[in-house]
């Protein structure tokens, strides 16, 4: 089985191609939505999970967070929510910037760079939750520990670890202002 960082890099490069095909005015909208999603999960993830546990517990007759599989359940909930946002950002009505990419190589380069940034945000967040919940996909043989040295270094730079709340709010604010002005 190839190391996890191999898949991560391959997928992120694929997002670079997607960026090149879609153009950066569209990709910037996705970036904004991804930053909002990361902020929501980071800031409100734990209280929302407790609320969910409290509300669903009596209905299901079990406390989700006290189950032996609680790591897997929490991972699936976080990932499910995040993937739904990713789908909505790419397929639905989003904060797309009006207009067309700049002509020539500069426009193409910006589009690829923006696609790679989106890949980093999306794949990085998915990896972050895998790491946070101790790689629960191990039970389906989709991952075998230990992480390589490179992967151990890379997990320190995943988006939810690198982007603190101030940074996220600042970036969302700048992008939203630019979107309104455009």
């Amino acid at each position: 089985m190839s190391p996890i960082e191999f898949y991560w890099i391959t997928l992120t490069v694929a997002f670079g191609f997607i960026g090149a095909a879609r153009g950066y005015p569209r990709e910037l909208g996705v970036t904004t939505v991804m930053l909002i999603a990361i902020l929501v999960l980071k800031r409100f993830g734990t209280p929302l999970m407790s609320l969910l546990d409290k509300q669903l517990g009596p209905l299901l007759g079990v406390q989700i967070l006290q189950q032996p599989d609680s790591n897997l359940i929490q991972y699936l909930i976080y990932t499910g929510f995040f993937l739904a946002v990713v789908f909505a950002a790419y397929a639905g009505e989003t904060l797309t910037f009006r207009g067309q990419p700049a002509r020539g190589g500069v426009g193409m380069l910006i589009s690829i760079a923006n696609g790679l940034v989106n890949g980093y945000l999306i794949n990085g967040t998915l990896w972050y939750y895998l790491d946070k919940y101790d790689y629960p996909i191990q039970r389906w043989d989709l991952f075998k520990p230990p992480l390589t040295d490179l992967a151990q270094e890379m997990v320190r730079y995943l988006p939810p670890r690198v982007l603190d709340t101030t940074m996220l709010i600042g970036l969302i604010g700048i992008l939203t202002l630019l979107r309104i002005r455009k």
Binding site: Y24, P25, R26, L28, G29, V30, A88, A89, Y90, A91, G92, E93, T94, T96, F97, R98, G99, Q100, P101, A102, R103, V106, G107, I110, N114, D164, T166, M167, G170, L171, I174, L175, L178, K182
Partner: protein, 211 residues
């Protein structure tokens, strides 16, 4: 120089870079920024390697000048060359790297000037970023202590010179340690303003909207 004076000096230097950025425009400043960041990366990661290769090339040059393989006793020439003083000694390395940086920064500005296309406020902001990076870059390249001969000329021992450097760089270090998030946000913000500014109007007034 106390920290207020150092702050004024820093502001004055940034003002000059901001003005240059305003005159050159965003495209020229962005090119300069890319070149300076590339240089920084190269010198930080490969500085030692660069010095090593220059010294090796110097040894090869000496070997060839003394006859090379056609000399009477090439092995003796080789041994003499190997024991010769390197072109860039360990003491001279920081001076060499600072000198090289000055040359490349001048070259980066010269290349950037070729791409200049009218004054712009974004150019000014990018100029400020360039100035800040250059100052910070030089501070990191400077030796930890002032060279001994210089401290004698200044009439005080090295530790005092050390203090001098520390005081001069205090605003930069303070900005970086206390407001690193805001510094990064400012740089990313400038890049985003430039990126969004480069979006062309939609053909036929179409607004787009589908992700």
């Amino acid at each position: 120089m106390n920290s207020t004076e150092a702050l004024i000096a820093l502001g004055a230097i940034l003002l000059i870079f901001g003005y240059l950025g305003f005159r050159h425009g965003s495209r020229a400043e962005l090119t300069t920024l890319a070149l300076i960041l590339g240089l920084r990366w190269l010198l930080e990661r490969r500085g030692d390697e660069l010095v090593l290769w220059i010294n090796r090339l110097y040894q090869a040059f000496l070997f060839l000048r003394r006859g090379g393989l056609t000399a009477e006793d090439p092995s003796r020439v080789f041994a003499t060359v190997r024991s010769a003083q390197p072109l860039i000694s360990a003491d001279f390395k920081p001076t060499f790297l600072v000198g090289l940086t000055v040359l490349v920064v001048i070259a980066a500005y010269a290349i950037g000037r070729l791409l200049r296309a009218g004054s712009s406020l974004i150019g000014m902001l990018l100029g400020l970023v360039n100035g800040y990076i250059i100052i910070q870059f030089f501070v990191s390249l400077l030796p930890r202590r002032l060279p001994e001969p210089l401290s004698i000329l200044m009439g005080r021992p090295s530790p005092a010179g050390d203090e001098e450097i520390r005081a001069m760089t205090a605003p930069v270090r303070h900005l970086l340690s206390e407001y690193d998030t805001y510094v990064v946000l400012a740089i990313v913000g400038v890049i985003l303003i430039w990126v969004v500014g480069s979006i062309q109007p939609a053909k036929g007034g179409q607004s787009g909207g589908k992700g």
